[in-house]
Symmetry: C2
Subunit: 344 residues, 2 copies
């Protein structure tokens, strides 16, 4: 989900966090990571995450067909389970609708349950209420995994490499194409299809997340929901470190480059601050580079990308080809493009 | 919560239920009871419930001070845990607000966490997003209990007595007083205080629910959130039985009678269709009447009320002093007062 990124939201989260009680008897981790973690039997833990999707804020019914929206409502939350290294087992869905649009909801529900089934998870509870205006969904996903394998946002160390499980910025490009009207029904069949799907029907990276968690090779992990610059800033804040992204190491597909040219946009901006990619962003000691690349290549056939390095300090810096380093912490490319930068 | 009671919502819930997979490996109970039930270690289970509160539909900021609203947001969901016989251990809170009202939210959060602490539960996760219009909260509560003790809606048998853990209709009376402007700040200090509190700051009946679940004396249970007639209809539908409520056995406090007189309302209407009481509604074999009354009296000092009897058949009937029986299934007193009735 594209969350409100203003200070007051982070301030609010800080206040909520001040009210929580981490490390108590039953909760291992409270607010401050992708999921809450509750102790299960033996080494096993339960992962729980909740997320709200608001019409016109998080989705636009003009380009989210109900079936794909149902899939996305499930998958963006399953992605939070992936971000810890777990697997999803159950979901609860609360729907607030202004009036009863049964046909639309049937399709939404079919997509929601289809996405759950792809993960071996099931719909176990829910709630339907009237809303005053617009549709609001709340999704709660329950997952499980072995406790010692959990990958938190904290844990990144200076010297670690920064990895992404796939290209970022594609969902932002897809959204830009949809907004520009360049990806209508006919166009979806053609060259923008992959980018539009990245926005409309993203895939949670459960399989890669589970392999990484069980490998013991990784020091910190999160999913890219709010954009690379912001989500990497979460890892840095939780770990007490800085991060440097090398602009030239970010993978740019031909499609992304073509869409950027077509719309006159910057692919770098999409890659840094485009949210909703739901790729995994993780860090690992540099000497495990080959082991990680081989593990994921062997198990999944997927290419993953090393895009920078953790350093001592704080914040997220973008290393440009000319050697300059721009602070892109949280504010992402907006902050960078407004001219405030730091050279070092 | 006062849910939308129209057919389309029940139709929607039926459709959602058709998509769920009860009795699968990890879920013991899916949609169709107060909580979803997931297998835990050994005999223990996890209870999960989620609920959405929409401004102007479920709460009115004019008479819900933020601290009490925070308490209520927690407690109405904790009540769903009580309705199975469990205890609450953790909560997740998702907040959608149109803009940042930090002071208001601070008070709301303080009330939310206060109510959790009263139950030994803690806030472990959450989400904040922007809403387009109005405030929407979603609360997910996780509870636990021993699996064999779970009290479902199904299980009521002909001949069972119908019980309530305390008076119903008081929250509806409190709301009517607030709507009539008869319970402003000064008036809250006086004779309506108890009724107004029943609406603004209801108590979940966790302690009574746990005693009942562990006693093995009870056949079915639910909490009164949508009104006695509707929630009893849920038990009847799930159990395949009918219920007869004796109007003269419903407890009417002096305050309730006085408020009804003051406003020119029917206490019976409040008792039958007034939602949000959050008392427990349960059934048990008639020969356990003394055992149940003594158990709750000894353990809690509370008086509970036997208000009717389960019969073979379907639907909820109201037995009036003149011997007539009115069908009040789901539609509650509205249905009754519209003149449609059945004599038998």
């Amino acid at each position: 989900l594209v969350h409100d990124r203003n200070i007051s939201e982070r301030e609010l989260i800080r206040r909520i966090r001040g009210l929580t009680d981490n490390g108590s008897h039953e909760a291992i981790m409270g607010i401050g990571d992708d999921c809450a973690v509750l102790r299960g039997h033996g080494n096993s833990v339960w992962l729980i995450t909740t997320d709200t999707l608001v019409e016109s804020v998080h989705f636009d019914l003009a380009w989210h067909p109900p079936r794909q929206l149902g899939r996305k409502a499930a998958n963006v939350n399953i992605s939070d389970i992936a971000a810890m290294g777990g697997r999803a087992i159950a979901a609860l869905l609360a729907i607030a609708v202004p009036d009863s649009e049964i046909d639309w909801l049937d399709e939404f529900l079919a997509g929601f349950v289809e996405a759950l089934k792809e993960q071996g998870a099931e719909l176990v509870g829910g709630d339907t209420v009237k809303s005053r205006d617009g549709t609001v969904f709340n999704v709660t996903i329950v997952g499980t995994m072995e406790g010692p394998d959990i990958l938190y946002r904290r844990g990144a160390q200076p010297g670690d490499l920064i990895w992404i499980s796939g290209p970022v910025g594609e969902a932002a490009a897809g959204l830009a194409l949809l907004k520009a009207g360049a990806a209508g029904q006919a166009a979806v069949e053609n060259k923008w299809q992959h980018l539009v799907k990245a926005h409309v029907d993203p895939e949670p990276q459960i399989v890669i997340g589970r392999h990484l968690a069980r490998s013991g090779l990784v020091s910190a992990m999160i999913d890219v929901s709010d954009g690379l610059a912001t989500d990497l800033a979460h890892i840095c804040e939780a770990s007490g470190v800085a991060a440097v992204i090398r602009a030239t190491d970010l993978p740019v597909s031909e499609e992304l480059a073509a869409a950027a040219g077509y719309l006159g946009c910057s692919p770098l901006e999409w890659m840094l601050r485009g949210g909703e990619d739901y790729q995994l962003l993780f860090t690992a000691p540099a000497d495990r580079e080959a082991a990680i690349r081989n593990l994921i290549g062997d198990k999944t056939g997927r290419t993953i990308y090393s895009v920078g390095r953790i350093e001592a300090g704080a914040g997220v810096l973008l290393h440009l080809p000319d050697g300059r380093r721009m602070d892109v912490t949280y504010q992402g490319y907006d902050h960078f493009s407004s001219g405030r930068n730091q050279s070092d």
